[in-house]
Every structure is written in C-alpha cells, then in structure tokens.
C-alpha cells in the first residue's frame, strides 16, 4: 500500500508535467480520438506529444508486459493510473482495436515471434488494425463465414468478402477469420493477420442511416498471406475469435457505461419544458443508468477477481447497449423539433439525431441483443435447447 501511494504521487506528478491542457479537454466525438497508424493525421502537436509520452512509458497499454511495449504495471497500479488520468480529465492517448481486441488475443494465443513483432507496434500506435469477422449473409451467424484461405505451401491464398469492417479504409492491417476447412462449421475456421496493402485487398465504405460511413465492405481477391501470420492452430481460429469477442463485448458494454456514467443525470441535465411524462421517463432512466453503473463496477471487480461467469459479458453487452439506445431516444425527444434538424449549424449538423441513429446499431454490432440473451439463457440459466 505504501508503494501504491508512492506510485500514485509519481504518476500524478508525471501526468501533470506531460499531459497538456488541450489533452485534458473532453473529446466531442470519435473524430477527436487518436487512432494512430501509418497514415494518421494528428489533430495537433499536443495530440502527438501525448501519444509519444504515454507510449514511451508503455502506458498506452499499462498492464501489458514491458517486453512487448507495455507498462508492466500491476492491477492496482493500472487502476491508480486510470484514476489519476480521470482526475485531471486526461484523454485516452490511443484508441485502437489492436489494444482492445487483437492484443489480448495475441498475448494468449500468439507465438513468441508474433508477440514481439506485433505488440510493440500496437502499443506505440504505429499500426492501425481492423477486424474481419462479419460477412454478407451471415449476420449473427458469424461462424457461417465463407471467405476461403487455401493452403499454398508457404502461404494462404485468401478469397472472399467481409462486411462491417470498422474503418477498413483507414486501417493498416486486418485480423481476419477465414475458412480453411469445410469439414465442420466452427472447426474449419482460422485466424489470419495481414497487411491491408497486400495486392488483392480493396475496400468500399458503407453509408449508414446516420449519414456517416465508419464501416466498409472489404474484398479479398487472391490475397497472399504468409503462414507465420496464422494465429493459433489452423482450424482453431474460432477459439481465438470467441476469446476476442468476449473482449469486444466488454469494451462495448464499457462504452455503454461511458455513455452515461460520466455525464450528469438526464433528469437534471435536460430541459423538458412542460412535459411531465417525459420527465417521468427521464427519472426512471436515471435510476436504471445509475444501477447499471453499479453493475459495471461490480462486473469489473468480479472480472479482476476471476469470479465473473464466462457468459457475463453478454449480459453486460445486452444491458449496456439497450440502455444507451434508450438514452438517445430520450435525448431526441427532449430536443423536440430542434433535434430533428439534420444539416443546420444550429444543430451541429444534426448531431442529436445522427447520434440517436448511430446507437441503433449498438444492439446489433458485436452480437445482437437476441444473441446475447440466448447466451445468457444457455450458459448461465442452463435452459434446455438454448
């Protein structure tokens, strides 16, 4: 405990010295995030310096081993770092699917060579990753994927198509599920990593109902992937995928939390005019949001203690995303006809309405709410035939 207090004091001083005022202002949207990667345009020098300072200490991934570019911090030190960052409103220095998804999977399933090759780049924000899971026509049935990887001796030849690839048009590398065998549905899937600049890779942005295009369709036409870029064994990619999906669900449920916990109560923040029925809905939402905030803390503490049920991220993902959708329904209604404007400067180009539409995907992406409920019914409630 004394050590922790020392660490806290040092951390506070270091953050004070290295985190500029600009990096202590809240991010207004995903666009303000630092995504890193080969082609990333830093929004400012402050943003670049903050990433470099944090990456220099391994604090973009504080709990990863230091030999892979991490901070090597203990759980309590990691917690202290987060608390001290939160205390001064420090921005996350690097937003990255490499950190939140691929990294944990590589730490668990990667070869030593893969860890040494990929993890430090992720930690420093040099390579931006995207995720090649979903395919057209597969939807919730992820394992029904058709993208083929043929064994060509020293490499695989990949052909097929992915969809819902987040920021594929801005990513440097992809972690990708491919079919290497038709013998069994789940047992014929492999997990490959490859460069998006490989010949034969192309992307096309998907325009969403919000008007934005954060996702792409991604096409593979005879893409060569060296065999040392296979993670875990051939035909065992589903194991890696499931592990990683668990992390994704945690992250999404955490985002749901972030969407409401940091901000003030809706019933206090919003002017609803003379609409007591809406006021009633806001009051009930606040109860549910605060209760879910407690649940998130409880879940994280159980995770840390190794006591969380393996299916519990599904519960969190379900509850968190449904809550976030409800939150945005309320924000839209509270805004009245002002919030329906789509292109005016007054409405910040329709931010309320576009954010509201965006949240409708929360309960679809990363496994639909129906899929999550099915997982809870089967694995926690042990209901038959679920």
């Amino acid at each position: 405990m004394a050590d922790d207090e020392t660490f806290r004091a040092e951390t506070r001083a270091w953050l004070e010295a290295n985190c500029s005022p600009e990096m202590r202002t809240p991010m207004r949207s995903e666009k303000d995030a630092c995504w890193g990667g080969r082609n990333f345009k830093f929004a400012s020098d402050a943003q670049r310096q903050w990433l470099e300072a944090m990456a220099g200490r391994g604090w973009t991934v504080p709990d990863w081993p230091s030999e892979y570019g991490g901070g090597g911090l203990s759980p309590s030190e990691t917690k202290i770092l987060k608390e001290e960052m939160a205390a001064i409103g420090a921005r996350v220095p690097l937003t990255s699917f490499g950190i939140s998804m691929l990294g944990p999977a590589l730490l668990k399933y990667g070869t030593e060579a893969q860890k040494q090759r990929f993890l430090p780049e992720i930690a420093r924000g040099e390579i931006r990753w995207c995720q090649g899971y979903s395919e057209p026509g597969a939807g919730s049935d992820l394992a029904g994927l058709q993208t083929r990887a043929e064994d060509k001796g020293d490499h695989y030849l990949v052909n097929g198509q992915k969809v819902w690839t987040s920021y594929a048009d801005e990513a440097d590398w992809i972690f990708c599920l491919v079919r290497t065998s038709n013998e069994s549905k789940h047992g014929g899937i492999s997990f490959l990593l490859f460069d998006m600049e490989s010949p034969g890779v192309s992307t096309r942005p998907i325009k969403l109902i919000s008007g934005y295009s954060p996702f792409c369709e991604t096409f593979f036409d005879n893409v060569k992937v060296p065999k040392d870029q296979l993670v875990h064994e051939e035909n065992k990619g589903w194991t890696v995928a499931k592990y990683l999906l668990g992390h994704e669900r945690e992250m999404i449920s955490g985002m749901g939390l972030g969407g409401s916990a940091g901000s003030s109560l809706l019933s206090e923040a919003l002017d609803v005019g003379d609409d007591p029925l809406l006021a009633a809905d806001l009051a009930r939402f606040d109860v549910d949001a605060l209760a879910f905030q407690a649940m998130s803390e409880h879940f994280i503490d159980k995770l840390k203690a190794g006591e969380a049920h393996p299916a519990e991220p599904s519960l969190m993902k379900y509850a968190g995303t449904e809550l976030n959708k409800r939150r945005h329904e309320l924000l839209l209604r509270a805004g009245g006809s002002d919030a329906l404007e789509w292109e005016s400067e007054r409405s910040r180009e329709g931010k309320t309405a576009r954010d509201w539409l965006r949240t409708k995907a929360n309960s679809i992406e990363g496994g639909t709410s129906e899929i999550q409920l099915g997982i809870v019914a089967k694995h926690i409630l042990q209901l038959p035939g679920a």
């Binding site: 005019g273 006809s337 919030a339 329906l340 409708k360």
Partner: protein
C-alpha cells in the same frame, strides 16, 4: 360501424396501388433526397394528387373538391405513411383546408389546392415543443391591419408554401386560449425571412422570422382574438391525419420486416421461425391494429362532429405515435446490420417516424391533455 364503408373501401382500392406505384420510396423520397431537392417533394406528384381528386378531398364539391371527410383523408394518409411519400397533402389538403374553410380565404386558395398547385404551410410552433396555447408571437394592431413580430419553427414545407397560416397573439398572454388570431400571410410578405431546414427524414421545415411584417385586416382568418376554435378545428384534422400517416409508417415498416422474417435465414432456418421474434412480431401487429382502429374512430367522430372527437383524436395521435416508434425500432433491430445502411429503405421509416411523432404534438403531449389542449 367502426370500419370502412363500401365507398371508403373503393377509395382505398384506388389509392393503395397509386401510392405504391407513383409515390414509392425509390421514385419519390430517395429520388428527391439524392437530388438535393430544396422542396423535399415533387410538384409533379402533387399535381397528380390534384388530377385524382385527392388534393381537394376535403374541399366541397361546390368549390371543385371531392367533398369527402376525415376518414377518406386518412385513407390517403395511411398510404402516404406506408410509402413515406413526400407531399404537402397533410399540411395543405387537410390542415390548411380546415383552417380556412368557410372564410373568404377559401375562395382565394381552394382552386389552386384542388389542382394540386398551391401549397400551404402552418406556422404555429415557436419552440422545440408543440404548444398552441403558448403562442406568444405578437400581432399588433396598426392602421387597417396588424403588424407581426416573432418567429416560428417546424413550418413543414415552408419554402414551398404559397401562403402561411400563422397563429399570433392579438390579445391575452401566452398560455391563454383567448387572444390568438390566425392570419393568412403570403410568402412574399415584406419583413418575412425564411430559413429552409432539412430534417432527419429529408423533409423540409422552415424557420420563419417576422420582423414588422404588415398585413391587412383581411389577412385575418375568422375572428380577431378568436382564432383558437379555428386552430382547434385545423389541428384536430392535422392530428388525426398525422395519426393515420403514423399507422401507415408502422404498417409499412412492419410489412417490410415480416417479409424479411419469412425470407432471411440464419443458423440454417428462417429467422421468423425463432419464437422470440414471433412473439414480438405478433405483439407489434396487435398494437398496429389497435392504433389503426383508434385512428379510424377519431376520424369518424370528427366527421360526425361528435363531442368525443377531440379526445379520440388525442388518443389516436398518442397511440399511433407510440406504436409507430415501437414498429420502427423493431424493424431496424430485426433487420440487423442491413437495416443500418442507407441503401436499405427501413431506416427511412425510423427517420420519418421521429418527425411525424413530433408534428402537431408528441404522444406525451396528447396522453396528458387527452384532447383538452
């Protein structure tokens, strides 16, 4: 009989294929949106409404209209909702016609409406929430007429309007029903500034600024200080009509979803065979049927000038709004990722629902007042 009579059924049998063909998303809503049309609808289709006798549906036969009632107008509006057809029908042919009928303004504007050439817009809301009694815009007597000062928003089809029906306060104070006067203000009135605003559903609803806009005494619709009753009559028609459009939106989104449930396969079977989705679909269907019955009842009561007309109009708007909200949410969720893409039509239903939910008062407004405001 709380069902369509034979004549109304015949009208439906005409309007349904017409709207599904000429009013469909591909050729109207998506078309005009992608073209960046500043009106948000096609004047050609509005003239077709005129040729088919739809734009003059509520206008007496003596004035060249079809002389029909709210039930018939709602038949048209449900099909408009089902196809998300952009048109000035609700504001012009229903709401504005009810506002000016029986006044000298009818003689001036009805012929153009009957032809599907004239467009009218309702300038009522002054803040983000519908609140007719809260009208505060100033109508100051000056000379032979009035001078108007203030601003209006959510004026649907404002840019396309040939004239505005403007509610302003000539007496009393905000919150009171007495003292409101309705004016017919031409679009080229001096001192009137218009900002054309695109809404989430790609429709257009202007914001208006009145800066010392002078109007003659004959711009007054009905009685000075006595606009409340005319406004109520117009809003009753507009709200019942909006309810019907919302029922159409719900039914259209549901039909698209039910088809998808029957066709789309996952895990080796149609997703519509999953019982959890079946029960949600059946519940939603039940709610839509109830909303439609409530809306039909409201329309019948309006046509009968029944004392319960206001209450059931409020019920219809509240119920149809809530049901349509559930319908579009379920539609998008059940479509999964494809429903989130602009390429698919189902997202249009969600956007349109949000706008119609707010127009002429949201469900919570009507649930609270139940026709008393």
């Amino acid at each position: 009989m709380l069902k369509l009579n034979d004549d109304q059924q015949m009208l439906l049998d005409t309007v349904r294929p017409f709207m599904a063909d000429e009013g469909r998303i591909e050729t109207q809503l998506r078309h005009w949106r992608d073209k960046g049309c500043p009106d948000g609808f096609g004047h050609g289709l509005w003239e077709r409404f005129g040729q088919l006798g739809l734009s003059g549906i509520l206008i007496p036969e003596s004035a060249g209209g079809s002389g029909l009632g709210q039930v018939e107008a709602n038949v048209v509006l449900e099909e408009i909702g089902r196809n998300l057809t952009p048109s000035p029908f609700l504001t012009t042919a229903v709401t504005a016609v009810r506002a000016i009928e029986g006044t000298p303004h009818a003689e001036r504007w009805f012929p153009g409406i009957v032809e599907g050439k004239t467009v009218a817009a309702i300038a009522l809301d002054e803040g983000p929430r519908h609140d007719p009694a809260g009208t505060a815009m100033e109508a100051r007597r000056s000379g032979n007429g009035f001078t108007l000062n203030g601003s209006k928003q959510f004026v649907v089809h404002g840019r396309s309007a040939d004239f505005f029906i403007v509610a302003a306060r000539s007496g009393g104070s905000a919150g009171e029903r007495e003292g409101i006067t309705l004016f017919a203000v031409p679009r080229d009135a001096k001192g009137l500034e218009l900002e054309n605003v695109t809404l989430a559903d790609s429709s257009k609803a202007a914001r208006l600024d009145f800066d010392e806009v002078a109007v003659d005494a004959d711009a007054v619709i009905g009685e000075v200080d006595g606009g409340w009753n005319l406004l109520r009559r117009a809003l009753r028609a507009g709200r019942a009509g909006a309810a019907s459009e919302l029922v159409g939106i719900a039914a259209g989104a549901f039909a698209m979803t039910n088809d998808y449930l029957r066709e789309r396969k996952q895990f080796g079977r149609e997703i519509g065979s999953f019982q959890a989705l079946q029960h949600r679909a059946a519940h939603l269907y039940s709610e839509i049927e109830i909303a439609r019955a409530a809306t039909l009842k409201a329309a019948q009561l309006i046509d009968e000038e029944h004392g319960d007309a206001e209450r059931f109009t409020a019920v219809a708007k509240a119920k149809a709004g809530s049901v349509a909200r559930l319908a579009v949410q379920e539609a998008v969720q059940m479509h999964g990722g494809i429903g989130m893409t602009d390429e698919h039509d189902v997202g249009f239903y969600m956007k349109r629902q949000a706008v119609m939910d707010e127009l002429f008062g949201r469900p919570s407004f009507h649930a609270r007042h139940l026709g008393k405001d």
